[in-house]
Amino acid sequence: MDIIYSKAGVVPFALLVFLMLAGYYFMRKAKGGKPIPVRKIAAFDAIEEGVARSVEMGRPVHFTLGYGPLSTSMAPQYLAGLGVLNHVARLCGKYGANLVSTLGVPELIAAEEEVIRDAYYSAGKPELYNVTYNVRYLTDQQFAYASAVQATIQRENAGTNIMVGPFWAESLIFVEAGAASGAFQVAGTARETQIPFFVLAADYSFIGEEIFAAGAMASGDNVTLASIRGQDIGKLLSWVLIVVGLVLLPLGIKLATYLVM
């Protein structure tokens, strides 16, 4: 019987399992009703402020979560964006705002239509739901999608522009198109090369993994929210490993060699 060994390293697999168990542990603890406090993420609170402001000005809310195939390693970022859309849709139902959601991910058209339909119906405003107004799929080609979204933001005169998901070069196109039409903007992505443009040009921004925290907060369910602590455990563990590695290095022990076993 060939021995079982790990091709991609036992330690990475152990780290993956450990973090998932940590997240699961806190989700179980939260089930007992003790909610976990989460530090204020300014951009998340700004979403509600933006929707309310749009309604006062009688302008629609625009949302987009990006373009591209769902079956790549960007899937988690699309799902975080979808979670925030769920939150935005519910707020639009609550305040009675018109929502225009553009996207370039063909697999998520149905999901977006249903999420928005659910939000308006459960808020008792079915008249605001019109599928060709609310959800606009604009091809999965990057810059055709970008040319249509920048036009939609300005032609619909969006009062608030919310963008959460994986973005590539088109991030600055949307933020500047929104700024040109005076929209209040909340933007976030975990793709490192595009974060500076959102931090600089949007009113509020989620940086990197904050979009995952936003996705969990958007669910409004304590158990889901508690899973974020699993991410914090990862950070504390990294803290410890780095410090230990730094201490051991002068003693001639390279922690790095053990971590990749």
């Binding site: 991609a8 899937a75 149905a110 974020i228 990294s238």
Partner: protein
């Protein structure tokens, strides 16, 4: 150049100018170029899909149905996307989307522990004291502090509360938090500045590719664009 190519080069120069005109003001010529682009891109996307369907499903099925019978399943799953228009069977599409979501999430999960976490931890462990070379010592200290600071900034649920007199733990937390913020600002500033070079390079590339060979096309397109922009501005 055959006249088909010349006509094409003229159309290309005109389309580029009219897309640029959007930054001045959304106008009817941009709207034309945009819809032309979106229509062509939609057709291109379907063409690519037909091509990959042909290569991945139809040819293998046609060649050897026995071993490749299973490819019929994703074809059916794909067809279920059309059911989103039906009130009763809208949920059937979830099977197809589920496969894609799962594969995407799995691809990310497989590489995240090593590439995103362990490799970065290893890169952060650098010698903090090299007597001969003070410059590297300073660099390494700075790199370690920025990395640890950034990690502290992103902590969401475990943070020392600052009730009343701030405890020493809170002071350390605040210190690393600020180092993280300032460290990231350096990264953002550097990256923003660095992209300017490439973006200017692309505009120069466009000038060489589409304007220099057809200067008259570009000039006429600009004149038309200016008229369209003026018209759009007067109307608003």
């Amino acid at each position: 150049m055959s006249e088909v190519e010349v006509m094409g080069a003229w159309l290309a120069a005109v389309v580029v100018v009219w897309i640029y005109s959007f930054v001045y003001k959304d106008n009817v010529l941009y709207r034309f170029a945009e819809h032309l682009f979106v229509g062509t891109a939609a057709g291109y996307s379907i063409a690519l899909s037909l091509d990959s369907l042909n290569k991945t499903a139809f040819v293998p099925l046609g060649k050897d149905i026995v071993t490749n019978w299973h490819l019929i399943i994703p074809l059916l799953l794909g067809l279920t996307f059309f059911l989103k228009y039906s009130k009763k069977y809208y949920w059937v599409a979830r099977y197809g989307i589920g496969v894609n979501v799962a594969v995407g999430a799995a691809l990310a999960l497989r590489t995240a522990p090593m590439a995103n976490i362990i490799k970065q931890i290893n890169a952060a462990i650098v010698p903090l004291w090299t007597p001969t070379d003070l410059q590297t010592t300073f660099n390494n200290w700075l790199m370690v502090l920025i990395t640890l600071g950034g990690l502290t900034y992103f902590i969401f649920t475990l943070f020392p509360k600052a009730e009343g007199k701030s405890t020493s733990v809170h002071k350390i937390y605040r210190a690393f938090f600020l180092i993280g913020v300032y460290g990231m600002m350096v990264g953002f500033g550097a990256l923003f500045a660095n992209t300017i070079m490439t973006r200017v390079g692309f505009l120069i590339g466009i000038y060489l590719q589409y304007f220099q060979p057809q200067p008259y096309a570009a000039i006429i397109a600009v004149v038309l664009a200016v008229i369209a922009i003026a018209y759009a501005m007067r109307r608003k």
